[in-house]
Symmetry: C2
Subunit: 367 residues, 2 copies
């Protein structure tokens, strides 16, 4: 029975472990002290930067990740010791937004206009060249769910945000919509792609998605092809999520994440193979599963923390407002925190979105 | 976070625990020494007849079952101590096939002609009244997967099979087909029913099923209505599986099982709510989930033990023969043992059955 080690004990590890049950794959989760989500299966506690020195890797066949906030140099050191790490250190380096943008741009992948900011004056130069202030600043490392991102109106604000960090600056683009495409890719390069979805982001946090994305077949096909190119470029193994902007009918790669991703949670019910199962199959170098949707439409709505409301207390009432598939992460409530998600399947995009929203609102206490 | 205790650590406990992850329900499994299937979550070991004396029930909100081979008197004693047991002892008494047949017949539920055998001469009398030898003998208690059932050709064989056990005898009926209907029922009587499936049984072991059952709407509706009547009669809480014979176009209740059941494994992918989630929702007295199918057709094929072939070793090759959803139970191989199952969804019943069979055969080494 193969053993997959996962660095990080968040909801992605939790749902990967849940998927692993069906394949009789053993999962061992290395969670940071105090982390609570994947609790039933956490088999080790420790700084997630220690990749093997503490015995966590003994008997682990493949090491993978719940998040990309790991030091690629330590991952590389583990690889040099012979640990099978998927995705590998070269792919994980793409978690650095500056590295990512530079590599994508160099390969001719369409990305937003950007600069890697060396000084606040650099932000001003980009603003001047692309329609003026405000501009968007993104910390190269450590950000997630809108953290590490700011819209700033002048050089002083840019300097205050950047501090001593490496920061990517880009214009505030007039987005028509945001799409996301998931790719599952094996070590040898075999890959499958999920149909593009449209995401709704608020303050950098994914609130909901609809699948398939309500775009023409040409744009959907172009998005899928672009994601496959990006996955090859990153040398991705496992799931790679590619977040796209649509601006003036054109696709721009906003960001990539080398792991299962919020924009694929609907695949648990909607796809012939979930992103979590395909992540496991890919990192184990097993044949990948079909990504075919089971119904014409799906919607996924996140359950975000709302004060001290605990969705677990509201679950029975929320279930009565379905039908929908509820996933709770067993995390303590905190404002804005992702505590769960709700997926609805059906024939009509508006109807499934309404149903998923209704159940999610009942869970978060917003309704 | 509610805590559900499960007596028995087989694949039904395993898949119930997997479903519980989504609802943030904690599951504690009481497995017999040496039992291996639900391994990652087994939280206690001990004789499964000890219902509370050993501390297993401390903190458990509801106690339920992976199998019905428990002593109803001990369950009743636990209830008298205040333990919430669902299904309760009165329902669990229906696991006794003699009790079950007598109660169903007394309530006017159509069942096969039968007698509770007191002597081998009784088998002869039933044979004489219903077309002669051979007849079918079923041990009232302790049987599963064809064990405890025999087709016997004369009184001597009947006497040898029965020994000192209580045995039900029935004629060997000319079955047109076998159906199964699952009901999920809450303590107050609210219930939902899954669309009837057709099962293929070989030597008393379920080999495969197709959903929906290929019968007319009238028969399907009658089967669903009959299952709901039986669930009421049994006072079922949680899933109740009702196995039906079709003889001369008429429905006869062959057997009931007060727990998640092999004939509902396809619901993990095929139904809006799986039997495992609805079992949890029912025993927690939460609103039940919709049973609507996601695709026009589904087939489920069991992976049965074939010598010492371990399906885990054949998983990568089998996955390449999909698309299909594979569920392995992490049980050691043994001839005839249920080691996993494969579900395929699609539009055409013959196509999905072929696909599920192909993957299951690759896992069991039969292809």
């Amino acid at each position: 029975m193969p053993v997959v080690g996962i660095v990080g004990g968040g909801q992605l590890a939790r749902m990967t472990a849940q998927a692993a049950v069906s394949l009789a794959v053993e999962v061992r989760v290395l969670a940071a002290p105090g982390e609570e989500s994947a609790a039933p299966w956490v088999t080790a506690r420790g700084a997630t930067g220690t990749l093997g020195e503490d015995g966590f890797l003994d008997g682990v066949d493949v090491l993978t990740f719940d998040h990309e906030l790991v030091d690629p140099a330590r991952v590389e050191a583990a690889e040099l010791r012979g640990v099978v790490v998927r995705p590998g250190s070269a792919t994980l380096r793409f978690a650095d937004k500056a590295h990512q943008r530079e590599r994508l741009a160099a390969a001719g992948i369409p990305v937003p206009p950007f600069a890697v900011l060396q000084s606040a004056a650099g932000a001003g130069a980009l603003a001047a060249a692309h329609g003026g202030w405000p501009v968007v600043l993104k910390a190269a490392r450590g950000g997630y769910d809108g953290r590490g991102v700011a819209v700033v109106a002048d050089e002083a604000a840019a300097a205050a945000f950047a501090g001593s960090r490496t920061v990517v600056v880009e214009p505030l683009l007039p987005l028509e919509r945001e799409l996301a495409v998931l790719v599952a890719r094996r070590p040898g390069g075999e890959a499958v792609v999920y149909p593009p979805v449209q995401t709704l982001q608020v303050d950098g946090i994914c609130h909901e998605l609809v699948a398939p994305a309500p775009v023409g077949a040409d744009l959907a096909d172009a998005a899928a092809a672009l994601a496959l190119r990006v996955a090859d470029l990153c040398g991705a193994v496992g799931i790679l999520a590619v977040e796209l902007f649509v601006v003036d009918g054109r696709l721009l790669v906003n960001e990539v994440a080398p792991r299962p991703h919020n924009s694929g949670h609907h695949t648990i019910e909607h796809a012939a193979t979930s992103q979590f199962e395909n992540h496991l199959r890919a990192v184990l170098d097993w044949p990948l599963g079909a990504t075919t949707p089971r119904t014409p439409a799906a919607a996924m709505v996140n359950v975000l923390g709302n004060g001290d409301v605990d969705p677990r207390d509201r679950l029975p009432a929320a279930l009565a407002r379905g039908p929908a598939s509820v996933h709770l992460y067993a995390k303590g409530p905190r404002a804005g925190r992702k505590l769960g998600h709700v997926t609805a399947l059906g024939d009509d995009p508006a109807e499934v979105r309404g149903r998923a929203r209704r159940v999610a609102a009942a869970l978060s206490g917003a309704a």
